[in-house]
């Protein structure tokens, strides 16, 4: 047993040497796929006031917004693992909202939150609002408020490039289909195509990983998300079929804060009019090759 500490120390040292090689290149490895360097700039409305919104008041005292986002969705909400920087269309929407409500977008504290924990995070005040492929539906409207929608996606299927059997959701019988636990796409496949074998993870990136290692046959979720992945590895994956659902993306806000919700609705409408919305799209999601669609109509619903 005398060799024990030496073996342990050697293991540690070897691994740390790989890590802490003093001559590390600065920054992070280059990203694959197209990358927009020209992100739009949003002027901060410094004189903006929203006394009716407790969330806004809390942010005012704090000096910045805390925003929940996704961290593994290329061109929508993606975090560079090394620099910790967030990029994507959802991130642009988050910045847009922050600027319109009087806070410098540079100060936003981003928090990566998995699909299954979104409502919880909004309810217990971990975040002020959530922008991350958050589909508006009636069940969720009972738990959180939704500003927007700011984008309309639809559920689709991502398969390996050489896949020929799967052309649409009808071909999923007996196939292993992966999606995020607790997400709308997961529940839809479960309800409409019970013959498919469902596999669930917390994040889509593990699903895509499973797809490439033949552990699952398809990944299903909104086309916007899948497009981003396909654009990163176009030789290995492709989208099949037409979107088979409508997924209006909204900004999640705390349920008891309609003032914040309506203020964001106004801000979104303004951004769509002055061209900032399209600029944000072109600099992010547009890089996957799909031209900017017409933004969906804002839904200022009232809670009965």
């Amino acid at each position: 047993m005398k060799t024990f500490p030496r073996a342990a120390a050697a293991l540690l040292l070897a691994a740390l040497a790989v890590l802490a090689a003093a001559c590390g290149k600065p920054g992070s490895p280059p990203a694959k796929g197209p990358r927009g360097d020209e992100l739009p700039h949003y002027p901060v409305q410094t004189r903006f006031q929203l006394p009716d919104s407790p969330t806004w008041q809390k942010a005012k005292r704090r000096g910045h917004f805390a925003v929940g986002v996704k961290e593994d969705q290329p061109y929508l909400g993606e975090r560079d693992p090394a620099s910790g920087e967030y990029r994507g269309f959802d991130i642009e929407i988050a910045k847009m909202m922050s600027a319109a409500l009087g806070f410098d977008p540079k100060g936003i504290a981003y928090k990566a939150i998995a699909s299954a924990n979104r409502e919880t995070a909004l309810q217990n005040g971990q975040i002020d609002y959530y922008v991350g492929t958050y589909t508006i539906n009636d069940l969720r409207k009972k738990q959180v408020g939704f500003a927007g929608p700011y984008y309309r996606a639809g559920q689709s299927l991502l398969v390996r490039k050489d896949e020929t059997d799967i052309k649409g959701p009808k071909d999923l019988a007996g196939k292993r289909v992966c999606s995020a636990a607790g997400s709308t796409p997961y529940q839809r496949i479960k309800a409409d195509h019970p013959e498919a074998v469902l596999v669930a993870y917390d994040t889509y990136s593990i699903c895509v990983d499973n797809l490439l290692t033949f552990q699952v046959d398809a990944v299903t979720t909104d086309d916007a998300i899948l497009l981003g992945y396909a654009a990163k590895a176009p030789d290995e994956m492709k989208l099949v079929g037409k979107p088979f659902s409508e997924e209006p993306y909204g900004i999640g806000v705390p349920l008891k804060d309609p003032a914040l919700r309506f203020a964001m609705d106004d801000a979104l409408e303004a951004a769509e009019k002055n061209g900032n919305w399209k600029k944000a799209y072109d600099a992010t999601l547009g890089l996957s090759g799909v031209p900017a669609p017409k933004p969906p109509r804002i839904d200022r619903y009232t809670v009965s």
């Binding site: 047993m1 024990f4 920054g27 280059p30 990203a31 796929g33 919880t120 990983d209």
Partner: protein, 285 residues
Amino acid sequence: MSSTALYDVPGPRTRARHRLYGVAATVVILAVLAWVCYLLYDTGQFEGQKWTPFEYRGIQELLLRGLGNTLKAFAIAAVLSLALGTVLAAGRLSWHRPVRWLCTLLVEFFRAMPVLVMIFFIYVALQAEPLTALVVGLTLYNGSVLAEVFRAGVHSVERGQHEAAYALGMRKTQVMTHVLVPQAVRAMLPTIISQLVVALKDTSLGFLITYEEFLHAGKLIASNLDYDLPFIPVVLVISPIYIGMCMLLSWLATWVGRRQRRNPKVEGEVGPAEPGTLLPGGPQG
């Protein structure tokens, strides 16, 4: 090796035969290792492209941040577990029956539950932050196990010691703090450190509730399409660090244990904490 019941000191012919077996076994083991290396090579795991991410300072810092978070969770959980263990052990040694019962119930319950169930419960039902959920979950479990270790340690001190102390007119607290605990701690130290190894290993459960620890950092790199999914390289980098840390701590436990066996002041030894043996009707119950 001559002290096992299995074989005598081998003679010359047996030694020769053993050498032959040794060579054969070595060949087989090396062949398996070579096959693994070939598989790794064949599936392109040694391609430069998959390793380049580690050259960047950003990635190195990401991994070090993750490692820091792992050690942070471990440090907090270790301190709190020791504190909780002390409180629960004191409760179980109390002369008041309700206190004793309550502490026994808590210890038995937390030892019988999977740590992960507690961590998820705190995270999902009580809506705590990942770090809080992880640390509280680890503390409840390891604290309960340590409580049993402490109790066994105090019991392991020779009876004459506390009889003598009471005869001198010391109060119960004095007997504990001046006589029993100082002697018990020496005997318990290796077991306590071994239990801390368990806590260190279990910090990786934080990965499952998105606490940004070491494994989480590894996953971020491994599942990134930009870096060509360097999963195996990530595993090859992070597992030696994890295993090395745990081995160092385990080795510390053995070292302390060996040192104390030579020390005449320490009598007896506290056996390793067996997870969940004291279930009602359990093997030792």
